[in-house]
């Protein structure tokens, strides 16, 4: 088991490299850079800034497009590039490779680089500020999802085909079918504006976490309810349950000891993709509730062309998902006696 875990951990790095590379390619391919939309700056100033962001690499320029060596006005530079398209492409590729290497080295040491939009801030500051908040939100949502989902699924399975079952499964389906950007404002309207029980937005102590946590977790509560019900129904039919019953064990013991354990399996294996969904869902929830988390930073970064920040969010998110998936697989191994991790 331990060896399996270590092997998986090591396997994370190639995956992260792929993700990093993919994001980097997107970033380079995107039109626009950090200095657009601003007052034209003197050529040397611009050049210095570009050197800082590794958008220019003197070695590459010297090798492929020596004409660029002096600080040139953008229009002149465009003309030079238009005259020698192949050399220009080669220079861009070369610069791209250098930038890739530089960023990769930085990422390896945990430095995500400077923000494109907020020139005096590093991306690390954003991540450090936003990540704990998003994690908190995700945990609260997961708690809601598990609590509501497991309970509902349990009851539905026990009272199979009764009205409780239908009601629970109906509600579950409703949870899946209502987008969270509808549920959120609805809940805010009812619980924060009409019945002034909870705050309508922002983040702070526990009252602030309830509405966004519930909204984010509702869709997953629904899935978990369905999975729990299905998993338990499958388990209840198994022979070993019948044996337990035949042995005279009380119904409650049967369910709690045996059925729940088996029924939990599909839920545990669902947790992996669920967490991915939580990160994505937090984009909208953080926007609606004005929560300073990574999801909100990401959307703003994407819309503002703050590519370094957007990239970092993608990579951090991927790290979390990979680790979470690993933990889920390990948990599955513990829970399910049928699963054995071979060398």
């Amino acid at each position: 088991m331990l060896r399996y875990a270590l092997r998986r951990l090591l396997g994370l790095f190639p995956v992260l490299l792929v993700i990093f590379t993919l994001s980097f390619v997107l970033m380079r391919a995107a039109p626009g850079g950090p200095f657009d939309a601003e007052k034209p700056v003197p050529a040397e100033v611009k050049r210095n800034l570009e050197l800082k962001y590794h958008l220019r690499e003197p070695w590459c320029e010297a090798r492929f497009l020596p004409a660029l060596r002096e600080g040139l006005e953008p229009a002149v530079e465009r003309a030079v590039r238009a005259e020698q398209p192949w050399a220009s492409r080669a220079e861009k590729l070369c610069t791209g490779l250098f930038q890739y290497g530089w960023m990769l080295a930085n990422y390896a040491t945990g430095d995500f680089g400077p923000s494109y939009k907020y020139k005096d801030r590093s991306v690390n500051e954003f991540i450090a500020a936003g990540l704990p908040v998003t994690i908190q939100l995700g945990l609260v949502a997961m708690c809601f999802a598990l609590f509501i989902g497991l309970t509902a699924g349990l009851i539905a399975a026990i009272r199979q085909n009764g009205w409780a079952d239908h009601a629970a499964m109906g509600m579950a389906l409703l949870g899946i079918s209502i987008p969270n950007f509808v549920l959120g404002p609805l809940l805010i309207l009812v619980f924060a504006l009409t019945l002034v029980w909870l705050p309508p937005a922002r983040w702070g102590s526990w009252e602030y976490m309830i509405l966004p946590g519930f909204t984010l977790g509702s869709a997953y509560a629904a899935y978990i309810a369905r999975l729990t019900r299905g998993g338990m129904l499958e388990v209840i039919r198994q022979d070993y349950i019948r044996t337990a019953r035949a042995k005279g064990l009380s119904e409650r013991l049967v369910i709690l000891r045996h059925a729940v354990r088996g029924g939990m399996l599909p839920v545990v294996s669902y947790l992996g993709p669920a967490m991915a969904g939580l990160f994505t869902g937090s984009i909208v929830i953080e926007r609606i509730f004005n929560i300073p988390g990574m999801g909100r930073y990401f959307v703003d970064a994407a819309l503002n062309r703050d590519i370094t920040l957007a990239m970092a969010v993608v990579v951090v998110d991927a790290i979390f998902l990979l680790v979470a998936n690993l933990l889920v697989d390990l948990a599955l191994g513990l829970l399910d006696p049928r699963v054995r991790y071979e060398e």
């Binding site: 190639p14 995956v15 792929v18 993700i19 993919l22 994001s23 997107l26 391919a29 995107a30 039109p31 389906l173 409703l174 899946i176 079918s177 209502i178 987008p179 950007f181 509808v182 959120g184 404002p185 609805l186 309207l189 504006l193 991915a276 990160f279 994505t280 984009i283 909208v284 990401f298 959307v299 994407a302 819309l303 062309r305 957007a310 969010v313 993608v314 998110d317 991927a318 998902l321 990979l322 998936n325």
Partner: protein
């Protein structure tokens, strides 16, 4: 009854599909859902011909009115009729759902079938790629894509389809792997059918059950993802509409203009409900393990 005839009838037997069809018919919710979907389809396709307004026609003086005899669903901020916009939006939402699912289906089936059929090294590599792609937070990449390269309906289909093919590939691979050593496959090989033929004419059709179930359950998911992107302003663009866009606009105006949320929201939810019920019903019908 003539005993000989009775025995004949009994021996006739039923095929897998007929069995499934019978089970499906008995599932009242599934049948009802199918009817609802058919009605919805009719509503969005034929509806705009009946309504006197066009979906983009503005009448500024009548903006943001509630339901009335002229405008059954009311109007939006620009005075555009909400009924016809809901219909038009339904067309686009369903189209996105179907097309994106079709994209996802195509990629997933081909990929999974090839992986499952050839097994060994090929399978290991292909599935490794799937594992890697699984962990990528796809929505983020889609958002970046749409922001950086512009929004178009085509990009939307492809992006949404590309997000959901992974599970389809795994399912198909599983099915193909369990079936690839069956007798009918040996028979086909003996008859000289090539790899492609075996995969696409023999193995895949047998996995069709799972494929259909998963596809039916993918459509609502994709529609919700489109709604999510429209909420961020990256999905369908004005003056076009989609249920997602209408619902996103409506959710914000909910306090004062509830009709803008209720009508498209209801239709969207009902359609998603119906699709999910139908998918569940299909799964129960096609998967003999789950007893009702």
């Amino acid at each position: 009854m003539n005993p000989a005839l009775a025995i004949e009838e009994e021996v006739q037997g039923t095929s897998l599909w007929q069995d499934a069809w019978r089970r499906l018919r008995k599932n009242r919710m599934a049948v009802f859902s199918a009817c609802v979907l058919a009605a919805m389809f009719l509503f969005v396709v034929a509806g705009p011909w009946v309504v006197p307004w066009s979906y983009e026609q503005q009448d500024l003086a009548y903006g943001a009115q509630g339901p009335s005899w002229q405008h059954w669903f009311g109007t939006d901020m620009h005075g555009r009729d909400l009924l016809v916009r809901t219909m038009h939006g339904g067309r686009i939402s369903l189209l996105v759902g179907l097309l994106a699912t079709a994209v996802s289906l195509t990629i997933g089936v081909v990929y999974g079938a090839i992986s499952g059929y050839f097994g060994g090294k090929v399978d290991a590599i292909l599935m490794r790629v799937v594992d890697v792609l699984y962990v990528i937070p796809f929505m983020f990449v889609v958002i970046l894509f749409l922001v950086l390269f512009g929004r178009s309906l085509l990009l939307l289909f492809v992006a949404l389809g590309a997000v959901s093919w992974l599970t389809m590939a795994r399912i198909v691979r599983g099915q193909v792997m369990s079936l690839k050593n069956s007798e009918f496959v040996d028979a086909a090989r003996a008859a000289g059918v090539g790899h492609a033929g075996i995969i696409f004419r023999h193995l895949v059709p047998n996995a069709l059950g799972s494929i259909i179930v998963y596809a039916t359950l993918t459509i609502p998911r994709v529609m919700l993802e489109e709604a999510f992107l429209s909420y961020l302003g990256l999905g369908v663009q004005a003056p076009d509409a989609s249920w997602g866009l209408l619902v996103a606009d409506g959710a914000n105006s909910m306090i004062f203009l509830p009709h803008m949320l209720i009508f498209p929201g209801l239709l969207l939810t009902v359609t998603l409900f119906a699709l999910n019920f139908l998918g569940d019903g299909l799964r129960d019908a096609l998967d003999p393990r789950m007893k009702s």
